[in-house]
């Protein structure tokens, strides 16, 4: 057979297969469920174990937690009000709202106690245990009242009680609710027929919501335009967001977010130990230009993990601006020049968007004479390397940080993994002292001042070069209304979303 006739046959076969795909795709059924496109599938529906962003956000719909946050990230009552009985005893009083489990049983203080004791038991290896170690004892007083006894005073303690409450009988049976739910949230679990499709139902009116995982951004956009999904949130390149904004049938909304992107350094590295080198990098990165040309929308320059809107956030600080000449000067002082350039290895995940940003940073650092070697790894390898300190420089984001005790977790010299997330082995006695002082203090105003001092110090000392807070956006078809974006990027808006019967639906039936 002639090779090129073979080519034509292959081509013909491909066209045939493609047309079959198109035909099956065309006949996809319309439905009254709100279909929500996801870039990554949820992993676990059990609030005691869920840690990834998608799982946590879906968990919020299925379960209720004791405490939530307002727009300044101050803890506010959700399932329960609280009062301080003594410096180390908090009493939580359950409210009437959100206390019916999917099974119909009433949520009581016993369920709260069971859930938290399960997490605190080291044998269960819950990833949330670390944030709750201050709990000494939990007493259920009656059905509605529960006391948390602490080892030491902590005025911010309620901010840790954000884990969904699971019924006692589930905890006692030792069941892990990875693939179903038994919560008291606004939604109930219906079905999880495949990894890529999860169906839940709003309890109030029976409105179904389907989460559909579509990995590829272009395919997700095409599905939205074809009506195969009704809405999607985040995880699109800016160019595709612009493309959607130009479409009549799709509306796009933006909101500033609090996901903090940063460049992290290994403080044990002989070159990066030098603060002048870290400052040079901070001055060499043109964050404004990257935001303007690549991220767009409402992404803003960051100076600290906490946003300025956070009650303990830095309000207005000069921060670092793009000053390549100053960067070169600092590098020269640190002993690096043309003949002896600074060489760094920069690790990032294999996500195309992260590689794109890393390539831009590489080029910006090259402009001041820093030779950066880019290495990208699959997520597990990358994250493993970062946790065990095998890196010179890396970039990552902190997602949804609300509690300022993050500073101990990330920057205290006692928090080197596995005890915490001080992955760069940063050690500054002054920062340690301030973190210890803030925890000893019970006065909120004093704490706020101390937190701001810590952030100011970190900004000078640069264990991280802060990059930006990425924006959130939602793109939805015209028949969707009532969804409210929130700064933390969760999916709570689904609680009030409405899907109008579309004209296309009428035609199809």
């Amino acid at each position: 057979m002639h090779p090129h006739t073979e080519c034509f046959r292959l081509l013909a076969a491909n066209i045939l297969i493609l047309s079959i795909f198109v035909i099956t795709a065309c006949s996809s059924p319309q439905s009254s469920a709100v279909r929500f496109g996801l870039a990554s599938a949820p992993i676990s529906l059990d609030p005691r174990f869920a840690t990834d962003a998608t799982s946590s956000r879906i968990n919020r719909l299925l379960y209720q937690r004791l405490v939530d946050f307002d727009e300044h990230f101050q803890p506010i009552p959700s399932l329960a009000d609280w009062q301080l009985l003594s410096a180390t005893v908090y009493r939580f009083q359950l409210r009437d709202h959100g206390r019916r489990f999917e099974s119909g049983e009433q949520l009581t203080s016993v369920d709260v106690k069971a859930t938290y004791e399960f997490i605190l038991d080291p044998a269960n290896a819950s990833p949330h245990r670390g944030s709750l170690l201050n709990i000494a004892r939990i007493d259920a007083i009656d059905d509605d009242n529960i006391d948390f006894h602490l080892h030491k005073a902590d005025p911010l303690f309620p901010a840790n009680l954000v884990i969904g409450i699971v019924p006692t009988n589930i905890v006692e049976q030792g069941e892990i609710l990875t693939t179903r739910s038994m919560g008291s949230g606004p939604f109930r679990f219906v079905e999880w027929p495949s990894q890529d499709r999860l169906i839940i139902q709003r309890r109030e009116d029976g409105q179904r919501v389907e989460f559909i995982h579509v990995q590829d951004a272009t395919v997700r956009v095409l599905k939205l335009l074809r009506g195969e999904i009704d809405m999607l949130q985040n995880d699109l390149p800016r160019e595709l967001v612009h493309y959607l904004e130009k479409k009549d049938a799709v509306s796009v909304e933006h909101l500033d977010g609090n996901n903090f992107s940063y460049l992290g350094f290994n403080q044990n590295d002989p070159a990066l130990m030098d603060i002048r080198v870290r400052q040079a990098i901070a001055y060499a990165v043109d964050r404004k230009s990257i935001i303007r040309n690549l991220l767009g929308g409402r992404t803003v320059v960051a100076n600290s993990i906490l946003t300025p809107e956070h009650w303990a956030g830095l309000k207005s600080v000069p921060g670092y601006t793009y000053q390549p000449s100053r960067a070169r000067e600092l590098l020269l002082q640190a002993g690096f020049h043309h003949g002896h350039p600074l060489q760094l290895e920069y690790k990032t995940s294999s996500d195309p968007f992260r590689i794109r940003i890393a390539t831009i940073l590489q080029q910006q650092l090259a402009r001041v004479g820093i030779k950066v070697k880019l290495r990208s790894f699959d997520w597990a390898t990358f994250y493993g390397d970062i946790k065990s300190g095998r890196f010179q420089m890396y970039s990552l984001s902190w997602v949804g940080i609300k509690n300022p005790d993050i500073f101990r977790y990330v920057f205290h010299s006692q928090s080197i993994p596995p005890k915490g997330a001080n992955r760069g082995r940063y050690s500054n006695p002054q920062v340690d002292r301030l973190i210890d002082a803030v925890e000893a203090s019970v006065d909120i105003d004093h704490r706020t001042t101390l937190y701001r001092q810590i952030q100011q110090l970190l900004l000078q000392d640069l264990p991280y070069v802060p990059l930006w807070y990425e924006e959130h956006f939602i793109a939805s078809n015209d028949n969707i209304s009532g969804y409210q974006l929130v700064k933390d990027g969760n999916y709570d808006g689904l609680g009030s979303v409405v899907k109008a019967a579309s004209t296309r639906l009428a035609e199809a039936q």
Binding site: H2, H4, A217, T218, L222, I355, L374
Partner: protein
């Protein structure tokens, strides 16, 4: 030259362009934030990619990648394949049987899959792509050379050379290989086309050239993410790939027609 027409000109442009591009000051890794996903302009003929790098420069550089890989792989494959195949047919016996089995095994296994596995094991990189494709590529030439040798080794001039006491090496290189070179040349031409496709495929999968170097395959992969907003990122390398492969295949067809003695005689008669 005119009877080969456009296809040969395209091949000449491809090969010349590839090597000349190495002398030009190309900006293949010059990130330009202001020019991200810009369409074609007078300054940048094929527009700019997702990092604002000029697509035209990257296309030329990718052309060099595909050209150098194709030529190296085909050279290695043709030489090893022909030598092994001819020797096997000429010597016969156990050696022949072993070679035939090895060829059968290689042919039974999908070539590109083997290349993917090899490139995966050895790690990404253009030199490993060359090795992987050569390991797969020699088989076709060995089989062809063996079949051709079997049909010519009993011819009178070979017998005469044997009787005259010529050395085996002389018989193989002077009396056998020149006779079987025509079909091998044709096969090599088609081989170039399939190697160009295979290199693009491996680079598309991320096993070929590593960023920031360019290959048509990796350009297509990077471009697919922006297909809705900047189709030129996929079109430029895609069309280049298609044109080159088509030209090489057409040229191969012409070459075969010309080298096919029987067909030429028939043409002469009618």
């Amino acid at each position: 030259m005119s009877r080969y027409g456009l296809s040969v000109w395209i091949i000449i442009i491809w090969i010349l362009g590839s090597f000349v591009s190495q002398l030009l000051p190309l900006n293949i890794s010059q990130v330009e934030l202001e020019a991200i996903l810009q369409g074609p302009t007078l300054e940048h003929w094929f527009g700019n990619d997702d990092l604002g790098r000029p697509v035209f420069d990257r296309l030329l550089s990718g052309s060099y990648t595909s050209c150098i890989v194709a030529l190296t792989v085909i050279c290695i494959s043709v030489i090893t394949g022909t030598v092994i195949g001819t020797l096997s047919a000429y010597l016969g016996g156990l050696f022949d049987q072993v070679v035939v089995r090895v060829i059968d095994i290689f042919l039974a296994f999908p070539g590109i899959l083997l290349a993917i596995a090899l490139a995966g094991i050895m790690g990404p990189g253009i030199d490993n792509v060359v090795i992987a494709l050569s390991v797969v590529g020699w088989v076709g030439f060995a089989r062809l050379a063996r079949a051709q040798t079997l049909s010519v080794k009993h011819r009178d001039h070979v017998q005469a050379a044997l009787v005259l006491g010529s050395r085996q090496r002389k018989i193989i290189f002077v009396h056998l290989i020149p006779l079987i070179s025509a079909p091998i040349l044709v096969e090599a031409t088609f081989g170039v086309a399939s190697v160009v496709i295979a290199e693009a495929g491996l680079s598309f999968l991320g096993l070929g050239v590593q960023a920031p170097d360019a290959s048509w395959g990796s350009m297509i992969r990077d471009g697919t993410r922006y297909m809705l907003v900047a189709p030129h990122l996929v079109l430029a390398p895609g069309v280049a790939l298609m044109v080159v492969v088509l030209a090489v295949n057409l040229a191969g067809d012409r070459l075969r027609d010309q080298l096919d003695v029987k067909a030429n005689i028939k043409e002469g008669e009618t």
